[in-house]
Each structure stands twice: as C-alpha cells, then as structure tokens.
C-alpha cells in the first residue's frame, strides 16, 4: 500500500499492520527517513516537498512489484510526505515483511534506494527567508545503480 500525504504517520501502527500479514512472516524490516540538514546550505530550518500526483504512486508501485519479483515480499508499505516539513520531521517510511530476514532487508533497502532516484519528488530547503532546490546526489545514483 502506498500513501502520499501531508499528514505525519505512526511507525508503530504501520509496523503492527505489516506484522499482521500471516503466520509465514518471520521478518519485518522498516526504514524511516527524517528531515535533516542536507549540507548544501547551513542553517536549514525546514523543507518543502513537491510531487507529481499519479505518476509518483505508479513509480512506487513499480518498485514494490520489482522487489516482489526478486525477493519474498509478503507485504510492503510506503508512505511519503509532501508539503512543508520541519527539521526532525518524518519524511518517508518503507516497511517490508517477509519469511526471511535477508529478503526483508534487501527489499526494504532496494525500494528506498530506488525511490530516491526514480520517484518524482522534489525537495526545497528552507533557510530562514531563503529557499533552495536540493540537487540530486551522485551517491544516491550510485546506490540505486548497485541494485541493477
């Protein structure tokens, strides 16, 4: 299940929903991303996140489908926030449950890495009264390519 939303999310509740996916589940891996200073500018106080409604959900569904072909994925959950966020706010959640821990870790990390370079979201950093669109990082492209 995929949600793109302005509201915050509750990782505990998301975990409990993933865990409830049947007796074959032995492993639940989760990742949560929080707003931090990207290092492009100093004194970042917040972010603004924009997305391409419709396409974003399709791209993420494609990543979940790819992960499900490569690994045992019993259930996957992706939440991404958009709009105005403050430092330390939760931005993104990826949770995967699987029979095996290796599959849960790999699928969760793959979805997260691929989301970073292929899902249409754009981040603007806010520093006091200036704004600045964040540039894509080569390290993110490298991490994403490593799964190919």
């Amino acid at each position: 299940m995929i949600s793109i939303q302005t509201e915050d999310f509750d990782v505990g509740a998301e975990y409990e929903a993933l865990r409830a996916s049947g007796s074959g589940t032995g492993a639940v891996a989760t990742f949560s991303g929080l707003v931090r200073d990207s290092g492009d500018l100093s004194g970042v106080t917040g972010l603004f996140l924009e997305h391409y409604p419709g396409m974003t959900e399709q791209v993420i569904q494609g990543l979940i489908d790819s992960a499900s072909q490569r690994w045992d994925v019993r259930k996957a959950r992706v939440i991404h926030r958009v709009g105005r966020l403050a430092l330390s706010d939760q931005i993104v959640f990826v949770g995967v449950c699987s029979a095996h821990r290796g599959d849960a870790f790999a699928a969760c990390e793959f979805i997260m890495d691929a989301l970073k370079t292929s899902a249409p979201f754009w981040k603007k950093e806010i520093t006091g009264d200036t704004e600045h669109w964040v540039e894509q990082k080569d390290s993110d492209l490298d991490r994403s390519k490593a799964w190919e």
Partner: protein, 86 residues
C-alpha cells in the same frame, strides 16, 4: 482542451523558473519529446534552459521517457529536474 492537444506540465525548479504549471499545445504529427523541447526552448529567456546544461527529465503519460519518445494528441508530457525525494 481537446484530444487534439498536448498537456505539458512542469515541476519544481522548472515550474518556478518558467512561472508555468501547465500548458495546452497543439500536437504536431510525428512529434517527439525532443521536438517539443526545441519548440519550447525557442521561446527564449528562461525557456532556453530546457536545452541547456542542466539535466531535464521527461515523462510521457506519467512514465519516464527519452528524447526519441513520440508524443501524440491527448498525451500528458511532463518536464522536471532530477528527483530528490526520500
């Protein structure tokens, strides 16, 4: 808007710098993404950056596309900078 048109959308930095969220343009027979980019860049000013040094990503009907991808009447074409979510 009719099915004879293209809908062209812009996101993030491009949306701001072009001061344009979307356009309706007549579709041209045999047109590709690359042709559409040239046509828009020819408007000059900030539009020239569509064929500039900074990478411009494109999606046709919400799927990633290439310069050679054809665009046909009714298509939704989107231009945007490299993505930075997560």
């Amino acid at each position: 808007m009719t099915d004879q048109n293209l809908t062209v959308r812009f996101f993030a930095r491009l949306r701001e710098e072009l001061d344009t969220e979307s356009l309706e343009l007549p579709a041209t027979p045999g047109q590709t993404v690359e042709g559409l980019l040239s046509q828009l860049a020819a408007r000059g000013g900030p539009w020239a950056q569509l064929q500039g040094d900074q990478p411009v990503m494109v999606a046709v009907n919400q799927a990633m596309a290439k310069p050679s991808t054809p665009v046909t009447p009714g298509d939704e074409v989107a231009f945007f900078p490299p993505v930075t979510g997560g």
